[in-house]
Symmetry: C2
Subunit: 487 residues, 2 copies
């Protein structure tokens, strides 16, 4: 029956999970309802919650129990593997570096907010340099401890098991194809999507969530400056914004609903345990894109979407499904990543991947980032950003110290396409169901093959493999792009 | 320069403060926006946050630092005194009893919710008995550790320094006078207060909050089943409900705004430290009642209130100030405490005080509570509750294990009256200002004499004494009742 070490670890990691869950609640509150003047209190709360979770993770008692624990069945073994992974990553980095990076990030994010609006890279540079230096140290130390190259160690923290060699190869395949697709199908300025009063959009959003099987008893929809999703299996929160370009609010809801379905479908028996969480950011993004990109920017969904619009706005506000589909799949490169279409998006990510690998290796000095960024945009997307605001300063990720995160957006898109192929093979009637607004077969498949597995599989590649028969590659995504855009 | 112990304690108690603040955020979320299906996650979060705060408080390192710490100035000394008080109370009760009581409370609250609706005391009794037994143990153990009688030990946890002997004496003075006042001024069924669409009421509520100097940058207003207030100095949250009897929503906002002003006015230099928190529940209730009862159920405020109503609803929705004042000060005993008028309310509290002191001493068996409760209501308020739902089962406090809390409602009313007398002496024009909606002088006085002192004074009696020249007594309250109701 074991020596009790495993049981002690479950109790310890349940407390860590509770601290992380409370931090998610505080962060959600900050981004939705929290009064702006209360940031100081909330910052202290988050620092203390994070600090205590870290202390529980690196405590000598944890190390001892991890050394002695024995698993009695495969899920326990997977749970133990995830505990050891988290513990190993946490003890690798000295507390002094964790704090130095947190301070650098805090400063850089504040400077970024002010300097971005002015496109003032010179003001941002010293703070960015400090963050890059701390991230390089972190990458070095983590890499040494885990036997990984520095950038791989960073990638690994967002998508365990992912290696830059494979990312670079896959991105190369995308770069070889997508610019040509764009040249053939680009359509000029983006046409506006369906618009309407905020209350109407929110009603449609809630109908879409119900259509996807997200229950009000467990899932909230709120408003924030940028859409996001967070929460626990029984308490999921997504947001959207109604002030963006017409049509964006509802696509944001569909995207975040994909994340929410993942969280809702995680294995109930393993809640509050590491193995009960999602399989990293690539897997998470694959779920939002399974709903938004694969299922909903489709000819099939345009039929049901048009029905939802007509039911809300009446015949005068009606959209032809064909016109709607055209808007949903419009392609035209533009400077801002978060507004990019499905074909341009991976090239935006490739730009960032080139820059951040060079920043971490030291090949690129932060002072030279604007030029390197704009060169990459020009070579991959065919235009030069008008300035740093629409160039290397547009995203908060680097100011936030998140190097190695960007690739997971596109890896998630590849994974969504690969899952969709397998799903369509198993359910040839999927498009007919989607056109009728019946997402049961689709979400049922995702729940069985992805959501309910939590972290049982050791990596997102193993997860994809058990669902589709092979590790992640670019084949399905490029076939999907060909089918949707280059017919 | 001390031995560093004091500085270590400040860091430790700042973390405890952060954990408690995060718990307040999670609890607020549960009561406002949290989806009902997420209670399990939130329950785990709260248990872990509370457990870790307790561990930080009772750790041997804390005991050692408390034994060695030296304060260098009076505020540090007061902070140290509050640290020692919290530590002493926490180590007095064994962890096993804390957990047993938490389990009993959790069960009793669940049973209470279901049984109250049916007025089914028999179903509630076993769970209540369990809670009473745990509370009696707690009172015994805490009392022995602190050299206090059992019920005093419970009182002390809500209003440090308060003793039952004084409470009983003051309540006796109220019981001798208030029933006679009620007989003279009772007015039959309560007339409805100003009503209107929810959005209009919320607009007026926000104007009232602005009138009181509560800034949107730091203070939120939301909706919940029962009004409450919570939060930190820079991040205050109050709620009201719009579904209650006409007029109740706005009086709820005024009441909770009084609490919010206290939190907003706490000493900024001592945030995240024990001495930077409020001086217990009597002091807190004195602040809500300073605004709601002393300032706003007055002839002066009726003038400004009528103006706010007319500005929102136009001349057709206008109220004569005299008619408004009549509604605000209507007296008629009724079974439900939270709906009671200012004159009956202390008698509701006296009923509960009689019952809970007898439950804790063992003189009253929980099985006999309904009869004892109804007898007390009959003797003090002159009617017999129709059943347990409107009798001893109406409040959640006892199911929640909160014995010793009820008296602070009425002690707060006494304190508010005593502060108001001192305030009027210092500012003879107070009523003129209030009639014009100018609360600056009033809130300025409260901030100086109450809010900004935090826990600097060792007890609410010392706080009252420095503000008014004498400890708490019933004189000012009885004069106030005489002036307002028995002219």
């Amino acid at each position: 029956m074991g020596n009790g070490s495993y049981e002690r670890l479950e109790r310890r990691f349940a407390r860590i999970a509770d601290l992380n869950a409370a931090a998610r609640t505080v962060r959600w509150y900050s981004l939705t309802y929290g009064p702006p003047g209360g940031e100081a209190s909330r910052g202290h709360q988050l620092a203390t919650l994070g600090g205590l979770a870290h202390e529980l993770l690196v405590a000598p008692e944890a190390a001892e129990a991890l050394a002695n624990a024995e698993a009695e069945e495969p899920w326990q073994a997977a749970n133990l593997r995830e505990m050891r992974r988290q513990h190993g990553a946490a003890i690798a980095v000295p507390a002094a570096l964790v704090e130095a990076k947190a301070r650098a990030v805090s400063r850089a994010q504040a400077v970024w907010h002010a300097a971005r609006a002015q496109g003032d890279f010179a003001s941002f540079l010293p703070a960015l340099r400090e963050v890059v230096e701390r991230a390089r140290e972190e990458a070095q130390i983590k890499g040494e401890a885990q036997g990984l190259a520095p950038y791989d160690a960073l990638l690994d923290s967002y998508d365990p098991g992912r290696r830059n060699e494979d990312v670079t190869a896959m991105f190369g395949e995308l770069e070889a194809v997508l610019p040509g697709v764009i040249d053939r199908v680009r359509g000029g300025p983006k046409p506006p999507g369906p618009e309407g009063p905020r209350d109407s959009l929110e009603r449609i959003a809630r109908r879409m969530m119900a259509m996807l099987g997200l229950e009000e008893r467990h899932v909230r929809l709120d408003e924030s400056a940028h859409p996001f999703s967070t929460g626990e299996r029984d308490d999921v929160r997504i947001t959207t914004r109604y002030s963006g370009p017409p049509g964006e609010a509802l696509m944001g809801v569909l995207h975040e609903s994909g994340h929410a379905l993942y969280t809702r479908g995680l294995p109930e028996d393993w809640r509050r345990q590491p193995v009960g969480r999602n399989r990293g950011m690539t897997a998470h993004e694959s779920q939002s894109l399974s709903i938004e990109m694969q299922a909903c920017r489709s000819e099939a969904f345009a039929v049901h979407y048009a029905r939802l619009l007509e039911e809300e706005f009446g015949p005068d506000g009606a959209w032809e499904p064909a016109r709607l589909y055209k808007v949903l799949t419009h392609v035209e490169p533009e400077p801002i990543r978060v507004e990019a279409d499905e074909v341009s998006y991976p090239l935006h990510i490739a730009v960032r991947h080139r820059c951040e690998t060079a920043l971490i290796s030291g090949a690129l000095d932060p002072a030279d980032l604007p030029g390197a960024f704009d060169d990459a945009v020009e070579s991959l997307l065919g235009f030069r950003p008008p300035g740093p605001r629409e160039g290397c300063m547009q995203d908060i990720h680097w100011a936030g110290g998140s190097f190695g995160y960007f690739p997971t957006y596109t890896l998630g898109a590849l994974m969504a396409a690969q899952l969709a192929e397998a799903m369509r093979e198993a359910n040839p009637d999927l498009d007919r169901d989607i056109a009728e607004g019946d997402f049961g077969p689709l979400t049922g498949w995702l729940r069985e093959h992805v959501h309910s597995r939590g972290c049982f599989d050791a990596s997102s590649d193993r997860l994809v493999e058990q669902a589709t028969g092979r590790p992640l590659d670019t084949g399905a995504f490029l076939r999907h792009i060909g089918n949707r855009y280059a017919r």
